[in-house]
């Protein structure tokens, strides 16, 4: 009896150990865009793959396509509920006044800048030169030029990667947990993970003013915290990512002092 209780407790710990984590970073002087601002939402960078039994992620074309459609729909719904005037650019040649390759250059630059923000602010390779500075990254003149040519005030970039555990992976996970009942707990192999991030760039200064990371990882294959292939999952992701935007540290301090 005691053994079964222990197994149950362990199962519960592992299941609850899985979590959805959100980390927001902002420029110290960042204030939430208000009034009649014009927002440019760039093509979301989406990949959905299958998490194989061995732990490799195999990209899936159909799931990625499904997820992208859902994310765009969710984005439209979310932006419609906000004050600003926003446009979602689905293809690089759909932005009037900006040549396709110029937009591509900004997207590529943003891709590496976003990656280094995730690396140095979220994943733990903290840089001593950037500590206490809020969010200290910029896209420079390229972004300023984009703003001047297109007439937008802000650009929003979205990145989403999601995994779906394969049947083999789920079976292996269940087998490992089932072992606990007979007293032999196999090492937990871990479940699927969803990592999303968004960055808001001020097109007047070129600076990345706000950044948010959502990490929804599960410890048990088969249990998932939001599936981008479904409209609900995509809406949930957009809400987690963009729903609660907070102002920068200096602005918050001022507000608190008042």
């Amino acid at each position: 009896m005691r053994k079964r209780g222990a197994a149950l407790a362990l199962t519960a710990t592992i299941t609850l150990g899985a979590c959805v984590q959100t980390r927001q970073y902002a420029d110290v002087q960042f204030t939430l865009p208000q009034g009649e601002y014009k927002l440019l939402v760039l093509r979301p960078d989406v990949t959905v793959g299958s998490l194989t039994t061995g732990g490799m992620v195999e990209p899936r074309a159909d799931w990625t396509e499904q997820a992208r459609t859902n994310i765009l729909a969710a984005l439209r719904a979310q932006q419609a509920g906000r004050g600003g005037n926003s446009t979602i650019v689905e293809h690089r040649n759909h932005l009037a006044g900006v040549p396709e390759q110029e937009l591509a250059d900004v997207e590529r630059l943003n891709f590496v800048v976003d990656q280094s923000i995730v690396q140095h602010r979220y994943l733990g390779d903290y840089l001593p030169t950037k500590s206490g500075k809020g969010l200290d990254w910029t896209l420079g003149d390229d972004a300023v030029n984009l703003g001047r040519k297109s007439g937008y005030d802000y650009a929003l970039f979205i990145h989403a990667e999601d995994q779906v555990a394969s049947t083999g992976r789920i079976a292996l996970g269940v087998l490992g947990l089932a072992g606990c009942v007979v007293g032999f707990c196999a090492p937990n192999i871990g479940g699927a993970e969803q990592l999303d991030y968004a960055s808001l760039v001020d097109l007047k200064t070129g600076e990345v003013v706000w950044f948010n990371v959502v990490d929804a990882a599960s410890q048990v294959p088969g249990i998932k915290f939001g599936d981008l292939r479904t409209p609900e999952g995509a809406a949930q992701m957009i809400e987690r990512l963009l729903g609660r935007m907070k102002p920068g540290a200096a602005v918050r301090r001022q507000q608190a002092a008042r």
Partner: protein, 141 residues
């Protein structure tokens, strides 16, 4: 030594030696020339397996970035020359390859599963003759 055995050790060894010699000198020498190779897929091939489709999708994104890169050398003469060499060594299917010549000083050439190739300009700098370039193209294709 077993006297009643039909094969003695000596006869076995001799037989084995003869067989090995026949293998190295005989039929194994036939070779397939690139021009005689039959492509396993035709033009306009689209993958049907889920994993291959996923890979193709990623490669299409890669090609989108490469095709628009400002590192490309877009000289139709050089590109079609490279296309000719790759077509010669890679057989008929390789003639449909999209070739991107990139201004990158490193020695390298890369082929992608969806049928496009990137040749670094550093490769051309280090080649002394066409045969060397064809050799590298062979290895890459």
């Amino acid at each position: 030594m077993c006297m009643r055995c039909e094969f003695s050790r000596r006869s076995l060894l001799t037989g084995g030696g003869v067989a090995a010699a026949a293998l190295t000198t005989g039929v194994a020498g036939a070779r397939v020339r690139p021009a005689d190779m039959v492509p396993l897929i035709g033009p306009g091939f689209k993958p049907t397996d889920k994993d291959e489709q996923g890979l193709w999708k990623e490669m299409e994104r890669v090609e989108e970035e490469i095709a628009g890169s400002n590192l490309l050398i877009t000289d139709p003469g050089v590109t079609s020359y490279l296309q000719g060499i790759i077509g010669n060594v890679g057989g008929p299917a390789a003639k449909d390859f999209r070739i991107y010549l990139a201004r990158i000083p490193e020695f390298n050439a890369v082929m992608f599963p969806t049928g496009f190739a990137i040749v670094f300009s550093g490769l051309l700098l280090r080649m002394r003759n066409e045969a060397q370039l064809a050799g590298i193209s062979c290895a890459a294709t």
